[in-house]
């Protein structure tokens, strides 16, 4: 690693101020950033750790029924504390990485990084969640901006994520067993006014909504409703683990499994 200073503010205001200096970067749980730094793929002058900010920790249910998760909340805490209010989201959090990774990695860190094979982006997009930063609220549909791209401005911090809780939901991940990321994952969320489907791990532009499936499932929430749909291989990721056609196939398979699990 190149040399850098590290600060550990205890308030959002202090963190925002610290991030105002040149070449400063936020540090969530570090489960992606620290390996990146070790490979010298990033060279910040200063890291601002968000792990000491109490107001960014924890899970609660708001008056409007939305599930609110602090941006610095580790996956293990979401897996435990969101289980009653939003079981599909808790199950997703409980399948990220391994137990030690889940004790450090955070929801805000995952969303700020927007890895094209990460799990949380699928939950956020399928749920129509709201990303609350120190400066504004961003709708999920406006937040994700291509592979590793987001609507976040320089120095902007995710302080909370607000999830509307669907009537039924499931996340089904086809595990890439070495990395434990999704080779392809589908999050299906059924709300009173329709169904949302988000796919991760498959698209070259990162997480995306599968609108044809949403229309079909909003009409009839059964795996069979997907039977006549086909997914184009154009724009899918291709790597040594799977071809474009393989991933396109998995999109449909994993969505059908998610519908079956949610409807069951």
């Amino acid at each position: 690693m190149y040399s850098f200073d590290i600060e550990r503010p205890t308030t959002i205001a202090d963190a925002v101020a610290a991030l105002g200096s040149d070449e400063a970067q936020a540090l969530g749980g570090g489960q992606t950033l620290i390996p990146t730094l070790k490979q010298r793929l990033a060279a910040p002058a200063k890291l601002v750790s968000l792990s000491g900010i109490a107001e960014m920790q924890g899970v609660c249910v708001a008056d409007d029924g939305a599930l609110c998760i602090g941006g610095a909340t580790p996956h293990a805490v979401v897996a435990r504390e969101a289980a009653a209010a939003y079981p599909a989201l808790a199950a997703l959090a409980g399948q990220i990485g391994d137990p030690a990774v889940r004790n450090r990695g955070t929801i805000g860190g995952s969303l700020a990084n927007n890895d094209p094979a990460a799990c949380y982006p699928a939950a956020v997009l399928a749920s129509g969640a709201t990303i609350v930063t120190n400066a504004r609220s961003i709708a999920a549909d406006d937040y994700f901006d291509g592979m590793f791209g987001t609507a976040l401005e320089e120095g902007e911090i995710i302080v909370e994520v607000r999830f509307p809780v669907p009537e039924a939901a499931s996340y089904q991940k086809f595990l890439q067993p070495a990395s434990r990321f999704a080779l392809t994952g589908a999050f299906v969320a059924k709300f009173a006014d329709g169904v949302r489907v988000a796919i991760t791990g498959a698209g070259e532009e990162g997480v995306f909504r599968w609108s044809e499936a949403e229309t079909a499932l909003s009409h009839e929430f059964r795996p069979d409703a997907l039977m006549d749909l086909s997914v184009s291989a154009d724009g899918m990721i291709e790597d040594l683990h799977g071809s474009k056609a393989y991933r396109a196939h998995l999109v449909k398979v994993m969505t059908a499994r998610a519908v079956a699990a949610a409807a069951g």
Partner: protein, 161 residues
Amino acid sequence: MPKVSMTVNGKAVSAEAEGRTLLSSYLREGLGLTGTHVGCDTSQCGACVVHVDGKAVKSCTMFAAEAEGAEVTTIEGMAAPDGTLNAIQQAFQDHHGLQCGFCTPGMVMSAAALLEENPTPTEAEVRHYLEGNICRCTGYHNIVKAILAASGQDVSGIAAE
């Protein structure tokens, strides 16, 4: 260089650390606690697992500065002060839960975290929990058996392989 202070195995400690100093380096080089092993240094293998405020973490993927003020437990803190092994360590010895032994500190620390959460896990739960701990000797069978034995369950029916 700034000093980082924490409690390690019940003792207040303080050592110099750069911003980029990993918790694993702080423990091994700063404090001389070399029981925590660094295998892959890329957060895959789990040899470096320690507990920070009671939670298992990979100490190669956390900065020392992030553990400022924390309660840290390493493999050196698992046995009694007189050297008597704890139940998990003793079970690893009794059931030959190691071959080369390099992964053992991380295995024991992960096992301790598992049994804290789930005192009587099934074999499948033990294997699932150890996803982030790699034994390069592939000696998982007796590791799993040792952890089940440490939880007080009867392992006499599990063949020694």
